[in-house]
């Protein structure tokens, strides 16, 4: 341990300190000039030979400044006081390396995120910055020249979720010639988009543009498609993940099944299809969710199958021409070895029954937007006829309510992004198919992005009646003449400043998007973070939207936040590009933060033996010493902290470095007497 009685031993290192203004981001709150001057004078005895401040240290000129000093002044250590190391540590390490200094001899201290942006008192912020620099200087003295660890990148990739974002990512990678495992928990890929009829603003048919992509995935030589499957365990790290997948029993031998559909035809059990048909239609107990499903093999729903319930039936087995039915099939556990993972797990829709004043579930002719998608879909339960729940009456007036469950503190705070456009799409389709009067009830009309506002204009031209006001209630309790037999939408028309009661035949609730109900568990499974409401958190909201804090795990589509199809496709492609970049590198440099045992010091007490969750620690009975396998060690340092003999050395975060940083932060290193500047 360092001695420190105000008269520390002269340091042999030659240290350069660089203080960044970051424009006014830092300099607005911290007196950066003062910090640099202070470091130059007060930390001289600690080896600081030069301290500079500069407008933008991360600019090429700023980096050249450091490089020049390393070369001309013979610096052996560099401290950069700027933003968070998570942003620019790599930048400055690379600069050092260019000038011939081992990159790990550079230390970054954060005086932006942790000082200038969170404090207002300039004097206190300046002192805190000085302390941070001082801590960095003391720490860097104890740094060692290190070589980065490299790990090979397994070129295979796992994509979780077979919606449009996952499909896009899969195809990009597979087309580039690398193997992709796609895991989807439903029987078919396609996601929510497969349920839609038209897509805004161009009104392309969803199936027409999606099906070819689904077929591509299903038949791609580089894709292993695993539907009706779920990820159960993820081990390992970037480059070499080992993923355990449960392939749920389909009770259909996929190697024999031709997808002819006879089993579905013969199955006597009809079940309401809550998933694909949004509860509006029926399926059988053995089924493929929709005709274009990929793969074409059906699955057996054992909770509803008569054979599983009563022990007799087996109609599907009797009629199957290829003997592909297997009632005894068990779940299968498969382990996949992949280098990168893309999560595209999508969203859930808001449960409209929670807004009891809109009557969904109580009033027959209140529908959700997803139900409306099925109603308008030519392959849906009504063959695309927009009718009331009696299955035949065509509505004469339809009210479409925006923001259901969104922008509402009682439910979800966020704007669900797609509802305005989706509601406009419905307005158009109701006009086109029924000629009914259409009302749209909105709080704010949000139509950004290409051709969206033009679509709004078009729907206005078609005669849709827009009412600005959040609907208060939908009721069948009549109050005024003319309301009998109708649903009444009660709302304040905020532009007229009057309460209105508008009788309609049909109400469509544009329900919001919300995170998957199990998104927290998914995040935990893959070791990434979720925001408080359950969206996956990206590495940087603007500059790194598809990466996560965990190397090798990427996110795409609505799992990251509500978005429309174009944005989901873009993210899928972006995540794929990131993964392809990693695959091209073939190997990847990792922080050489690893633990190792100094054998002479190890007493063989075995305290550390049970602490490693990665099984990197083994004990050699013969020599009575412990050894750490560097390939398995992830560098958390728990064993380092636990060793009573101090026999475990934690590279990058060794005891001397941390203890010295403490002293530096507490300014024990600057001595009692101020050194004149």
């Amino acid at each position: 341990m360092t001695k420190h009685n105000g008269s520390k031993p002269e340091v042999q290192e030659r240290i350069g300190v660089y203080v960044c203004h970051c424009g006014t981001n830092i300099a607005g709150t911290v007196d950066v000039v003062q910090v640099a001057e202070w470091a130059a004078s007060r930390l001289k005895t600690r080896g600081v030979v030069i301290a500079r401040d500069y407008k933008f240290m991360c600019s090429s000129l700023g980096q050249e400044l450091i490089e020049k000093d390393i070369k001309e002044l013979g610096l052996t250590r560099v401290v950069v006081a700027a933003c968070s190391p998570h942003l620019h540590e790599k930048t400055f390490r690379t600069a050092c390396a260019r000038a011939g200094l081992n990159p790990f001899l550079c230390e970054m201290v954060s005086i932006r995120e942790q000082v200038s942006w969170v404090h207002t008192d300039k004097e206190a912020a300046t002192i805190k910055s000085q302390a941070a620099v001082s801590g960095g200087v003391e720490r860097v003295i104890h740094h060692e020249a290190l070589e980065p660890l490299t790990v090979p990148i397994n070129p295979a990739t796992l994509v979780v979720g077979g919606g449009i974002a996952g499909i896009q990512a899969t195809l990009e990678i597979a087309d580039a010639g690398h193997h992709v495992y796609m895991v989807e928990r439903e029987p078919s890929i396609g996601g929510h988009m497969a349920q839609f009829d038209k897509t805004f603003p161009t009104l392309d048919c969803a199936a027409c543009i999606l099906t070819p992509k689904m077929v591509d995935v299903g038949g791609h030589p580089n894709v292993t498609l695993m539907t009706w499957s779920e990820v159960e365990k993820v081990e390992g790290y970037v480059g070499n993940f080992s993923v355990t997948v449960r392939k749920k029993a389909r009770h259909v031998k996929t190697e024999d099944c031709t997808g002819c559909g006879i089993c579905q035809e013969k199955c006597p059990k009809k079940v309401i299809d809550e998933i694909y048909e949004a509860g509006l239609g029926y399926r059988k107990a053995i089924y493929t969710p929709f005709p274009q499903a990929v793969p074409r093999f059906p699955v057996m729903d054992v909770d509803n199958c008569i054979y599983f319930e009563k022990g007799t039936c087996k109609a599907c087995e009797k009629f199957c021409p290829t003997n592909a039915i297997n009632f005894d099939q068990q779940d299968e556990i498969v382990t996949l070895e992949v280098g990168n993972i893309i999560l595209a797990t999508g969203y859930d829709i808001f449960d409209a029954r929670r807004v009891s004043n809109y009557g969904y579930g109580r009033l027959a002719n209140v529908f959700t937007s997803l139900e409306m998608e099925r109603l308008t879909n030519a392959a849906g339960p009504t063959n695309g006829n927009i009718v009331l729940r009696d299955g035949k009456t065509v509505p004469e007036a339809v009210g479409i309510i925006h923001c259901v469950g969104s922008r509402d503190r009682n439910f979800n705070n966020h704007c669900s992004v797609i509802c305005c456009m989706q509601s406009l799409k419905f307005a158009h389709m109701v006009h086109e198919r029924t000629g009914a009067i259409v009302y749209n009830f909105y709080i704010d009309m949000r139509t950004p992005f290409k051709d969206y506002d033009e679509f709004y204009q078009r729907v206005m031209e078609e005669g849709t009646l827009f009412v600005r006001g959040k609907v208060a209630e939908v009721t069948d309790a009549t109050r005024l003449p003319g309301e009998e037999g109708k649903l009444i939408i009660q709302v304040e028309d905020t532009l007229a400043g009057k309460q209105r009661r508008i009788p309609v035949d049909m109400v469509v609730l544009s329900v919001g998007l919300q995170p998957r109900q199990d998104s927290n568990e998914t995040a935990k499974l893959f070791g990434i973070s979720c925001s408080a409401n359950g969206w996956f958190i990206e590495k940087h909201p603007k500059l790194d939207p598809v990466a996560t804090m965990t190397e090798g795990i990427y996110i795409a589509g609505c799992a990251q936040g509500p978005k429309d199809i174009p944005a989901s496709v873009s993210q899928g492609a972006a995540a794929a590009a990131r993964v392809l970049g990693k695959i091209e590198q073939k190997e990847m440099a990792l922080e050489p933060v690893r633990a190792s045992v100094i054998e002479e010091k190890c007493s063989g007490c075995r305290i550390c033996n049970d602490l490693c969750p990665f099984n990197a620690i083994t004990f050699h009975e013969d020599r009575m010493v412990t050894e750490i396998n560097a390939a398995l060690c992830q560098g958390c340092g728990t064993c380092v902290a636990a060793c009573p003999a101090g026999a475990i050395y934690g590279t990058g975060f060794n005891n001397e470095q941390v203890l010295a940083q403490i002293e530096g932060l507490l300014l024990l290193n600057v001595g009692d007497e101020p050194v004149p500047a």
């Binding site: 004043n357 923001c403 922008r407 509402d408 503190r409 009682n410 709080i443 600005r468 006001g469 959040k470 609907v471 208060a472 209630e473 009660q490 709302v491 304040e492 028309d493 905020t494 400043g497 009057k498 309460q499």
Partner: protein, 201 residues
């Protein structure tokens, strides 16, 4: 030669109406946390209100006026007095504004500033409060007769059968009941009024 001088006295130059302290004042005088500044003008309140047809302004509009600092117009509005405290708007408000309690605040402020237009409601409240302060309990007979005599004398004949019905069915008593601790209650209310006065400076 005709001069126009005699026709009209000169008009006052219009004043700026914005009184940006109004919103804060209303918030500060409301029980709990009003969240009035969070209103997004969606109209859920005005749409939910069972009595909005009789209001000068929907609650939403009133909140916009408070924000705009229209002190006199907003305190004169009959809206708070028509509010029936049904709390439909409160539970539906997407921003969790304490709407019903803001209405109570506005009533109190209107009484203080003597800005209400129709005295029926404030009188009713005051009569009720007077009775409670006197007896510690509500006194329906006294309240109803006193209030109706003053504000709806013409309605009294048609209301009489109902009143008689209530009396004959022993659902109204003619003599008020006083609580034992009326002195204690009076002391508490006296102090409360002082505290309230201090809190507005």
């Amino acid at each position: 030669m005709v001069t126009l001088q005699a026709l009209d006295p000169p008009k006052a130059v219009p004043k700026l109406i914005e009184d940006l302290t109004l919103l804060d004042e209303v918030s500060a005088r409301t029980a709990g946390v009003s969240r009035l500044e969070m209103c997004i003008q969606c109209g859920t309140c005005g749409g939910s209100c069972p009595s909005s047809a009789d209001m000068d302004h929907t609650p939403r509009m009133l909140f916009a006026m408070l924000r705009a600092g229209m002190r006199e117009d907003s305190l004169k509005s009959n809206t708070p007095w028509i509010c029936v405290s049904c709390y439909h708007c409160v539970v539906r408000c997407p921003q969790n504004v304490h709407i019903a309690d803001v209405m109570y605040t506005l009533k109190g402020m209107a009484i203080e500033a003597k800005l209400f237009r129709d005295s029926t409601a404030p009188d009713f409240s005051q009569t009720f409060v007077d009775m409670v302060e006197e007896y510690g309990r509500g006194f329906e007979f006294g309240l109803a007769t006193r209030h109706y005599l003053k504000h709806f004398p013409l309605r009294l004949p048609s209301m009489a059968p109902m009143g008689l019905g209530l009396l004959s069915k022993k659902r109204m008593t003619i003599t008020p009941k006083r609580i034992k601790g009326i002195k204690q209650l009076k002391a508490i209310l006296k102090r409360a009024k002082e505290v309230e006065g201090d809190s507005h400076g």
